[in-house]
Symmetry: C2
Subunit: 349 residues, 2 copies
């Protein structure tokens, strides 16, 4: 078999179907807990990573981004798009895939779908931030924006923080009905609300996850009481925000990687030198998180490459030795490394 | 079949084996000619592309790079590594894969191996530059560095320029023997030489393609006569060059994308404002190429994202409707775009 690829040429590939099987094998809530811990472990060694704001190709309709990082031993990147108008065409707003590679050789170790994995790691990152910032014994989350991320956010907060109630609101009642239906029987008290104000009632954690590519005001200042934790996910690219500026001015703001968040996050509405705290410093105990029960904490989440790296590594560890992947012939690997041409020639025989 | 992925979830994937079959189906020289024309067509519309220097993650052993670009309709990127020490471990110095996507939705259109495709597009780019810069009626190329790229370079110059002789030199005679063996019977007079000086005798085109990650001097000033065209490929990352600085000072220098070449190319040895000509301007007739038969022209090639974009698009056009690809389940695509969670839930049934 002159054309059968060598072992090094074959890269483990986790398809969407494989990822879904893996999630059910591990269990969604245990997986969300483990992923939260995996991301937190990498935030604790934040300074070991190469960090760069993601590389974005903006168009009128959306954005395509590459998000690379490396800890010196492994290299990971994610391809991800964000196209709010996709939904009207029956397509996902966000789709993604990613790759893990070995720094010492540059050879890929894992190719995987990341549409589902991004939803999982985004929810796990929210839970990680809330674990350090939300009021102690928070039990209720308001979920404003009931799109593809909503159920994952709710279940991560349940799995990691132990919330037991979620209050839903979306401008489209059908989206709220979808989330309510999907969360039924999962151990959460689910309340569907007719307004954002109603959804916020009694909630200690306010999560916003809406998709419009514009300066939107999902929450206005008078809607937000003292002592809450805000988990703002949807404001994640230039010109796309969710919170009124006045809320930001009343909040202590926590971010992933400031050079990226200042471009993409809610804080693009503020002066460039407005003080923010890096979440990794809170996690390491090097900066204060929540100090008192009147304080508003805001996690201005945009999504950072290290979270994807943690997720890629977690998936790789989980699928190793399993049948949750197939191998694909991605890398040319001739017997004699210099003889790429000879390999091609022999393939004609 | 609740879990069978929809059509949009499936991305055409061209494996290494598929790429080799495609090359033999089209024929190597016709393919190199077509690819040269495809790249040249994109260089002619240079200003339509988003351009950025590639995003490099350097380590002691090598580099991993992402090379994105877009023409506003299609988006492409390549993952590529460069690890000179890999060869000693029986691995490729350069491996690559790439993706083409639709700007309007962000959905992938093609995933393909690019180790072979990079060798092909690099050779085609050299041929495109030589078509505009080499002496008229050049018949002989010296090939210094007889690694994985060498045969492709020689055959592209034959297919596009009509050279009929190639003179080989490598510090490792086994590498030269490999190229001589591979090129036998392909319509080129092949001469294996014992020194770089000997290889240059009578050659109108001097191609250097060596791999050491260091400031090397493959060609010294006294070795290079008037009137030749130099095609310098191996100097392609910071701290990695092949030509003595004095040669650069005697040459008219042509580059792909100056902000990248100033970092990575031979011209990293020169002042930041040393004049260079952008190749696309020559191709469009907006800047002079070769002016006289005493002039030394130097294509300081580092490889640019637009060349990969052209190659990705070419491959996509060729495989469409063929069996030179398989489909892989890379993108999650629930029936209701907002119901990613529901798709996951139904997969458990």
């Amino acid at each position: 078999m002159p054309n059968s690829p060598s072992e090094k040429a074959l890269v483990p590939f986790v398809s969407v179907a494989d990822m879904m099987r893996l999630v059910h094998h591990i269990g969604l809530e245990p997986l969300l807990r483990a992923l939260t811990d995996a991301i937190e472990a990498d935030f604790r060694r934040w300074q070991m990573f190469d960090k760069t704001p993601r590389i974005a190709a903006h168009s009128r309709e959306g954005v395509i981004e590459l998000m690379p990082t490396s800890d010196g031993t492994l290299y990971g990147f994610k391809y991800v798009n964000g196209h709010p108008k996709n939904m009207a065409e029956g397509l996902q707003t966000v789709t993604a895939f990613g790759l893990l590679a070995e720094v010492s050789t540059g050879y890929p170790l894992l190719l995987t779908e990341m549409t589902l994995l991004t939803a999982l790691r985004t929810a796990a990152t929210s839970a990680m931030a809330a674990r350090h910032l939300a009021p102690k014994d928070a039990r209720t989350m308001a979920m404003i924006g009931n799109g593809a991320q909503a159920e994952f956010q709710a279940l991560a907060m349940k799995a990691v923080l132990g919330i037991d109630a979620v209050r839903l609101y979306d401008i489209d009642p059908a989206a709220t009905a979808k989330v309510a239906r999907n969360l039924a029987g999962r151990g959460l008290r689910v309340t569907s609300c007719r307004s954002a104000e109603a959804a916020l009632e009694g909630a200690e954690i306010l999560t916003t996850c809406t998709a419009d590519k514009q300066f939107a005001t999902i929450l206005t200042d008078n809607m937000v009481g003292a002592g809450v934790h805000i988990n703002a996910i949807g404001g994640d690219c230039p010109g796309k925000t969710e919170l009124h500026r006045d809320i930001l001015l009343r909040s202590d703001i926590f971010v992933e990687y400031p050079p990226q968040t200042r471009i993409e996050g809610e804080i693009q509405q503020l002066d460039e030198d407005h003080p923010v705290t890096e979440l990794w410093q809170v996690i390491r105990g090097e900066a204060p998180g929540r100090r008192d029960d009147r304080q508003i904490t805001l996690f201005d989440s945009v999504g950072f490459a290290i979270e994807d790296f943690s997720a890629l590594r977690y998936v790789r560890d989980q699928v190793e030795g399993s049948d949750f992947y197939q191998e694909i012939d991605l890398i040319a690997d001739p017997d004699d490394a210099r003889d790429l041409f000879g390999m091609l020639q022999r393939a004609a025989l």
